[in-house]
């Protein structure tokens, strides 16, 4: 399904690239073929985007070639200086944090990082943080508050790591504290879900004035697999669970949990990363403009009021 379509798109993309090179070299007779292939590419990609099921979006959100936090830092920000460690136990490579410039404005950047190749994935624990990751994030947030710098977070994690050390060192406490810290941090915060927004481990970087979500990213209280295993009694029901959970950007916008959907290039962010960076940059710029001039007390009040208003119940 999605993967086949993906392969088809990928090979079309490759042949378009080759054709363009040939044409550049002077083989003008290939032009009609290029036009036809481009048309086909757009059609397929559009079809793909429109027909995506929730489960297919899960695959896209987890696509190994999808841009990660590091890519956004390198392509959207300048002069990133990474800061390390929680000053208590260690440094968690599953979360990257530091200062940088966004279009000349000094800001703090914090995000989950899954890693690209096997070696890096292992080093970064597949983007699943330990408590020290969240404690590092809290540290940098407080620095940002101290120096009155806006905070940009990037969310991309299967979830906080379920392990012995993580529990021993207070995974729950670290996540709770990060959430509470963001809830009252006296500086503007913009969070962007770029891939997988997995449960509390994602929300720990997600309490923000503006919450953006890439078109093919997901954000959920539990992974579709986890939900399927518990409620559907079978992990194979993950596609159904994904549908039931309503975890796509569109659903989250409808539910009022996120503020803005960032469009992706046709077929997904990984097919045209450069274009993705441009689209994300534009969305971040817009979000920052919306909040940067609000007096900070008012901004925090609005942030708290927004989260206070989340929830649906009756009262009669």
């Amino acid at each position: 399904m999605s993967i086949d379509l993906d392969k088809e798109l990928q090979s079309l993309g490759d042949s378009i690239f080759l054709l363009r090179q040939e044409i550049k070299k002077g083989k003008k007779e290939l032009l009609p073929e290029l036009v036809a292939k481009r048309k086909k590419f757009k059609e397929l990609a559009k079809k793909k985007t429109q027909e995506l099921t929730a489960w297919e979006r899960v695959q896209l959100a987890r696509h190994p070639k999808r841009p990660h936090t590091i890519d956004y830092i390198q392509n959207i920000f300048t002069d990133f200086v990474e800061l390390h460690g929680d000053r208590k136990f260690g440094d968690d490579p599953a979360i990257i944090a530091g200062f940088a410039f966004f279009e000349g404005i000094p800001v703090a950047v914090i995000g989950h990082e899954k890693g690209k190749d096997t070696k890096e994935k292992i080093k970064r624990n597949f983007g699943m943080p330990h408590p020290e990751g969240y404690r590092k994030a809290i540290r940098i947030m407080k620095l940002a508050e101290k120096f009155k710098r806006p905070v940009f977070t990037f969310i991309d994690t299967p979830g906080a790591y379920p392990g012995i050390g993580a529990e021993e060192r207070g995974q729950s406490q670290a996540i709770a504290e990060s959430i509470m810290t963001m809830g009252s941090l006296k500086t503007p915060i913009i969070a962007t879900v770029i891939g997988e927004g997995g449960s509390g481990g994602a929300l720990a970087l997600g309490v923000a004035d503006r919450i953006l979500m890439l078109e093919n990213s997901i954000y959920s209280v539990i992974s579709p697999e986890g939900c399927a295993a518990i409620l559907f009694k079978s992990q194979e029901k993950a596609p159904e669970a994904a549908e039931s959970l309503k975890i796509t950007a569109e659903h989250l916008k409808e539910l009022g949990v996120i503020d803005c959907i960032v469009p992706e290039p046709l077929g997904g962010a990984h097919l045209q990363p450069k274009k993705t960076y441009r689209l994300v940059k534009r969305a971040l710029r817009k979000a920052l403009r919306e909040i940067i001039n609000t007096p900070i007390e008012e901004l925090v009040e609005k942030r708290q009021a927004k989260f206070y208003s989340m929830g649906r119940f009756t009262e009669v």
């Binding site: 996540i175 504290e177 959430i179």
Partner: protein, 278 residues
């Protein structure tokens, strides 16, 4: 539903489950216990000291000497936010849980006195869909916290929860933020917030208001943690050490202030209130 009806419902429930008198096997020492005796003993096994789970109403009765209200916000009731269906419809699960417990959802906000000190109690009931936190738990916690701020009285949460309520999906995840902001507001207002973790306190509840208490108390042998033990075992492909994620383990690791037996809980809370308030 008025408060009287609510209490009436509780009473009816009691009749159904416990007062009809049944034999219960202690989960720890396997002794057969008469339910009526167990209830009189704060649901602690007289043989081995095992703490059975308490209903929210039983908990309130065990802590408050004077009850002003068993639930300050009895009208708040759950809705099926996203039309969720797994093997069962969420609506049906809710109805079932409501019939079983006589509660509208998994938390009640009680108000009354521990000896002579007025407090707000946010008490969870594990029988209601595993004490899971959805919109109602979030809303009630916030209202309870704001009530404590308004009246300038201590706020005590008694947790018992498997975590966030999956059936409300992302909305339930957001309750973690909502409740944590309520704790922050209590902090800023100088309100004492004690959280009492009982068996089990996991996931989204653990990783929000449960671990944000000024003082964190746990009942003996309670399972407390972020990830469930089975998930951890599957992830690390190892068996977990004996006592892992239990109260005593957490105390040893510096994650909680103390493990307090149910018999001493009320006295401990009272002492802490006197030591920090007024």
């Amino acid at each position: 539903m008025g408060l009287k009806d609510l209490i009436g419902k509780f009473k009816g429930q009691k009749k159904l489950n416990i007062e009809k008198g049944e034999w219960i096997k202690c989960e720890k020492c396997k002794t057969l216990l008469y339910s009526e005796d167990l209830k009189k003993n704060l649901k602690i096994c007289p043989h081995c000291g095992y703490n059975f789970r308490m209903t929210a109403k039983e908990r309130v009765d065990s802590l408050l000497d004077e009850v002003f209200s068993y639930d300050l916000f009895p009208k708040i009731a759950p809705v099926d936010v996203i039309n969720f269906k797994d093997t069962k419809k969420y609506k049906d699960r809710l109805k079932q849980a409501q019939e079983k417990t006589g509660l509208k959802d998994a938390m009640i906000i009680a108000n009354g006195k521990i000896y002579d000190r007025e407090v707000v109690l946010a008490v969870m009931d594990f029988r209601f869909m595993g004490g899971s936190m959805g919109s109602v738990v979030g809303a009630k916690f916030v209202r309870g916290a704001e009530f404590a701020i308004e009246k300038n009285i201590p706020f005590i949460a008694i947790t018992a929860s498997g975590g966030a309520r999956m059936q409300e999906s992302i909305i339930s995840l957001m309750q973690m933020a909502k409740t944590s902001i309520a704790v922050d507001r209590m902090n800023k207002a100088g309100i004492l917030y004690i959280s009492v973790l009982t068996d089990p306190t996991m996931g989204g509840v653990s990783a929000s208001f449960a671990f944000l208490g000024d003082i964190i108390i746990a009942e003996p042998e309670s399972l407390i943690g972020f990830a469930g033990p089975r998930v951890i075992e599957q992830t690390i492909k190892q068996q977990l050490p004996e006592g892992f994620q239990r109260s005593e383990f957490l105390l040893e690791k510096g994650q909680i202030d103390m493990v307090v037996d149910r018999k001493h809980l009320k006295r401990t809370l009272y002492t802490l209130i006197k030591q920090t308030q007024g």
